[in-house]
Symmetry: C2
Subunit: 246 residues, 2 copies
DNA sequence: CGAACACTTGATAAAAGTCAAACGACGTGG
DNA sequence: CCACGTCGTTTGACTTTTATCAAGTGTTCG
């Protein structure tokens, strides 16, 4: 059977900046070994020796750490097209765990394959560098949220962030989406208890800011949610024009 | 007068991985235009159009954001040899402000200079990519601290982090260092008020964990501080052996 | 059908914030 | 050279926010 090779990651990058065929081929090679992981399955365990990175092709993955007292901090929720586990480029022991939030397809590749990619395609190297800077900015937004905003603001910002990120790869999303996270997981993402997350969500529902039906969230008043959450969508107005031309 | 060109940044990188002369020369070019900024001076203002990045050669710089209610979140404190403002590689408007915490020397360079560097020296590009992943991991540590640890733990982790990072470039440091931050600035870094930071510091001083004399902090019991702060030094055990050889 | 799991709500406790006042160091201008 | 103002630190009293504990309500899935 004939099968057209695709790269989830290349598609994602191509939304930001045009890619040459050679670059696309290089990116496709990163996704040569798709692997299915069941919901709840561990993709990477903290402190394990790792030499692999991943492209997430389908489903959702979270990265997190567990502190000595047993509490969990979710560091990031990943969506299709995301580049995961780049910490293994500098650390031979994983600083964080990766678990599938749904049934997923991940494409692992060795960091030596990444090395080859960086050598062969400087422009892709630059893109990866930029992408990791974008991740850094997303992280600083969350840092500011955890350090300086109220529980309600964090929930609002969290919902908007999920929404905007999902919309990058799913054009069908208008004002509602499946969260596919428990309230406990939301809490572990934004530094709250599940109980308090619930109170905030209920309150926002009563105020008509959002509505819910079996796990699906509808954002009824985005302007106000953005105000409450001090949210700015970083996915708009990225500027990659200065990149080397291919 | 003859002057030997140096690169603070190259020196820093060379501690991780050997650099070729060509690579060193390329890095030196980034620092061709040193600029002095007085303590308190603004290097970059949030939302301003930016096309420059910086290498910090001397002194200390902080990046931060101000939220609509006026509260400030300090995102990162930078030390000599650090690479600053990389967000401008993707955003034409600065997502964060940069202010000198002491009299500093920064070396601005245009992102087009960075582009040339990436094109000419794939190995340096790879190094930058790795470095930004290291920053990302540092950020996740702080995220976990803000989200899931107590005020005391955050202060302990903050002090240890400063200590370990300063020691990278200053071999003379044994167990004490100049913080050069007000308690308000510490609070704005770790999501606490200055009042509460003070209480935690006073408490740790009474317990003999740390001592102070005119702005200089001495860490008396690092093992216990690490335990309290759930701290791991990420600067040890980085592994860059897999990088392309030059 | 029932066990497990997520959600919801109430009562109470703990952690950190706010407000206010006082102290000390430091630098500047009269 | 000293007086004064500014800034950072320290401490106390009180408030607010969020966590904790506990119990009850669906819902789903074997």
């Amino acid at each position: 059977m004939f099968w057209v090779a695709t790269s989830c990651f290349a598609e994602r990058l191509a939304k930001q900046v045009p890619l040459s065929d050679a670059e696309k081929r290089a990116l496709i090679r990163l996704e040569e070994n798709p692997r299915k992981v069941k919901r709840g399955g561990m993709i990477q365990r903290v402190n394990d020796t790792v030499t692999e990175l991943f492209v997430l092709r389908e489903g959702r993955v979270m990265s997190f750490v567990i502190l000595p007292d047993g509490s969990r901090q979710i560091l990031r929720v990943y969506f299709p097209g995301d580049f995961i586990g780049s910490a293994s480029t500098i650390y031979s022991k994983a600083p964080e765990s990766l678990v599938a939030l749904s049934d997923v397809i991940v494409c692992p590749f060795d960091k030596h394959a990444l090395r080859r990619l960086l050598e062969e395609s400087p422009r892709v190297a630059a893109l990866l560098f930029l992408l990791s800077n974008a991740e850094r900015v997303a992280m600083t937004d969350r840092l500011a949220a955890l350090g300086r905003t109220s529980a309600k603001a964090r929930v609002a910002a969290f919902l908007l962030d999920m929404f905007d990120r999902l919309r990058v790869t799913d054009d069908s999303i208008v004002d509602s989406f499946d969260l596919k996270l428990t309230q406990e997981e939301i809490g572990d993402s934004i530094g709250l208890t599940s109980v308090h997350v619930n109170r905030m969500i209920r309150q926002m529902e009563l105020e008509g800011l959002i509505s819910r039906s079996n796990g699906r969230i509808t954002l009824n008043d985005m302007a106000r949610l953005e105000e409450i959450g001090h949210y700015t969508n970083r996915l708009k107005d990225m500027d990659l024009d200065w990149l080397p031309v291919s």
